[in-house]
């Protein structure tokens, strides 16, 4: 059974998808890498980004971290502050 997780998009990921937030249906026990695979399939241009990290609840997440439907998930393309 798929539950949707909400994903915030910033910078180039927002421009490439045309969205600032997405609701992505992921399988039970889906990990960060599973979410990324789904997003790459839905939005192939995301694969052209130099490095794409994921934050869960405001913290950088490992690729095997399991996602929950209440998590605040965000795509973090290469940062360029300062």
């Amino acid at each position: 059974m798929n539950t949707p997780v909400s994903v915030l998009l910033f910078g180039i990921t927002r421009d490439l998808t045309g969205q600032s937030a997405l609701s992505v249906p992921v399988g039970e026990g889906a990990r960060v890498c599973d979410l990324l695979d789904q997003l790459y399939q839905a939005y192939p241009p995301l694969a052209g980004i130099k490095s794409l990290l994921v934050a869960v609840n405001g913290e950088y997440a490992e690729t095997d971290q399991v996602l929950g439907s209440k998590d605040e998930i965000a795509l973090i393309p290469p940062v360029s502050g300062g």
Partner: protein
């Protein structure tokens, strides 16, 4: 003091805040919008942040700096929104008893901010735009 703001950065207020009776050294770094990047004329920069996480990541960096150097006071102010050339994008200020600590902590903070804090900069040229660092 950590701030993420759309308002212009007030350097005088930051310097005021950084004063301390024990401080013998104060290093202040300003990152400013230049008028060109690789000789391509920049019209403006657009800074975007994942606010919540940007602030918590800046706080982590400040905490790490506090552990490594005897910091008396610090200020980290990052601007977001649209910035024209000459505007200050980031201010880092560190007050310490001795100068080596101020220089090192200040540089550590700005170097680390550029690596880990979720803030993104789009350079808007007269003939196009690009998200900095995004492409291989």
């Amino acid at each position: 003091m950590i701030t993420l703001t759309t308002d212009p950065i007030d350097v005088t207020a930051a310097l005021q805040y950084l004063q301390s009776e024990q401080a013998g050294a104060l290093d202040l770094f300003l990152g400013v919008v230049r008028d060109n990047t690789q000789d391509r004329p920049v019209d403006r920069l657009e800074y975007e942040a994942y606010d919540r996480m940007a602030i918590s990541e800046m706080q982590k960096i400040a905490d790490q700096a506090h552990e490594r150097w005897p910091i008396l006071r610090y200020a980290i102010i990052h601007r977001k929104g649209v910035l024209g050339t000459g505007e200050i994008a980031v201010l880092i200020g560190v007050a310490t008893a001795h100068r080596a600590d101020a220089f090192e902590a200040c540089r550590y903070i700005i170097d680390t901010i550029k690596q880990t804090v979720p803030i993104w900069k789009k350079e808007v040229f007269t003939d196009g735009e690009v998200w900095v660092n995004a492409h291989p």
